[in-house]
Symmetry: D3
Subunit: 68 residues, 6 copies
């Protein structure tokens, strides 16, 4: 603790995951005033067919926008 669960899109580059974990951890350490060693981050990668905004799957939204 603190534990941070990040729900977002897939991240291809490993360096981007490194950066995300590092920066969120430092931000949380500062925000809580706690040592970063005890902060755990879980990155959850969600497929565009498993996320919807406004009732429309991200997959479909992208397709719709690409069709325009």
């Amino acid at each position: 603790m603190p534990n941070i669960i990040i729900e977002g899109p897939p991240i291809k580059e490993l360096d981007r995951k490194r950066k995300l974990a590092k920066e969120v951890t430092e931000a949380a350490a500062q925000g809580y005033g706690l040592p970063k060693e005890i902060i755990v981050v879980l990155i959850k990668e969600n497929s565009p067919e498993n996320v919807s905004v406004g009732g429309e799957l991200i997959l479909d939204r992208r397709q719709r926008k690409a069709d325009k």
Copy 2:
């Protein structure tokens, strides 16, 4: 917000995901009295070997029932 996380079994057909996201979003929009555009749905697909009911994996329960 609101954000809705649905933990369930895998869903093969994309149309079923579309329907699930759409209907849950509309239900939440009505329930909250909020516009559906701000409602995010995450569908989480869980393998039958990663879910248990009553301490028995779904995988094993299916096998047991099939064996009967």
Copy 3:
């Protein structure tokens, strides 16, 4: 299973919670093609001082808009 966690703002009226739980359950039952009896819904009520959008607490955003 399926289990549905709804993260949203506080809901004062009990009838609104009834409606939210009922409608989301029916939507999920239809979406999955499963009986509604096995669907569990958890409503999580988040205080406006514990949610941020774009890095600004909902509490502050409301105040800022009220000040205009």
Copy 4:
């Protein structure tokens, strides 16, 4: 999306919540390369009697250390 759920101890000062939400959002925006406007943060405050590390409630661990 991205949505970030932070599970941690209670935070008394509102300014600390402001800072936490702001800094985690900026870190995630940088990490993902996405605009911060679409990033939602939920701060979850857990009572020391509802969290355990190593099977011991935080409440008890604090008491044990205070007794030393």
Copy 5:
């Protein structure tokens, strides 16, 4: 890690929380083959007006059964 989130009804007695955290931690330690010191448990207490089964709030279900 591992982190365990337990969503359940409110627990009044502190001793019951102690037991729950202790036993789940020991079970997870055995199940994973990991030392229990690194296992974190979060107990989430849900009000009966915030949980539904089959679309009916637990609050209402209890009342309905009490009325019989």
Copy 6:
């Protein structure tokens, strides 16, 4: 309900998952004083490139320790 979400590393052997689900369920049943039939366990397997401790991905930490 109760529902238990276990976030941990990947588990290769199915028997280990069986044991984990069974033991956590029994522990929760004892802790809550509830029948184990109503307890649902979700095992979430997180890749070492999606988890960080202290801002360092588990993937990198393992590599760093292997390099020593």
